[in-house]
Amino acid sequence: MGDPSRIRAVATGDEVEVKILMKHIMETGQRKDAAGKVIPAHFIKTVEVKCNDKVVLSGLFGPAVSKDPFLSFKFKGAKAGDKVSVMWRDDTGDTRTDEVSVA
């Protein structure tokens, strides 16, 4: 269970802009530590954003996404008070879901 994601979802008309900041180390598996040993990869692989149980964006990440991944996009057909949830799963099977209301 990782740290909570920061999510902001703001409605303008019937369009909602979502900004997400996930908390994750996103280790590539390419880096070496001071002793020259490869630091094992550890990164988010899948992200799913839902609005009231309808998927509005699903993403696949590789290790080239920056540490603490940021994601923003817009979707239509929601209003203030609707629930937006963000679920991620990393390569170790760890998963986390966070939810906010559309403002």
């Binding site: 692989k45 699903s58 696949l60 590789g62 290790p63 080239a64 996404v65 920056s66 994601l71």
Partner: protein, 153 residues
């Protein structure tokens, strides 16, 4: 209230059923599967092949917003957007990274075909925005110079 053995059995069986139902929710079913082939392909051509496409065309209807010069290759903001109708899939690729594919997105109806995220770049490279619309693969590219690589080592 006293519970006899029968009651306790009944309660635990109901609880365990509910628990199983909760676990079995299809929350981990994604439209597209994470594929090691796609995420280890070197360069744009190989990545498109790994995705099952045979060819791609350069399109003016895709825009890609990334800095001309990135001081820190570990955090390069990239926005991609597509004006192509029926854009169903979008991806960000960095040509000279150890694996080109950085992130890909399925765009359901109702979601704008534009996403912003941040990627790592090992060195100065082309960044590609790859999209799929009506079964066709389209791409736009932009070069970003990196003064400090993002892959350590």
């Amino acid at each position: 209230m006293t519970l006899n053995r029968r009651d306790i059995l009944r309660i635990t069986s109901v609880l365990s059923l509910a628990f199983a139902a909760g676990i079995l929710k299809p929350s981990d079913v994604f439209a597209a599967e994470w594929s090691a082939d796609v995420f280890s392909a070197k360069g744009l051509d190989a990545a498109v092949k790994a995705l099952g496409g045979s060819s791609f065309a350069v399109s003016k209807d895709i825009s890609i917003d990334a800095p001309d010069i990135a001081e820190n290759g570990a955090v390069v903001p990239v926005s991609i957007s597509s004006a192509v109708p029926n854009t169903e899939y979008m991806a960000i690729l960095v040509e000279k990274n150890p694996a080109a594919m950085a992130a890909s997105f399925d765009i359901p109806a109702g979601t704008e075909s534009a996403v912003t995220t941040r990627v790592k770049m090992g060195m100065t490279s082309q960044i590609h925005a790859l999209i799929k619309a009506d079964g066709k693969w389209l791409v736009a590219s932009k070069e970003t110079k990196v003064t400090l690589g993002g892959c350590g080592g």
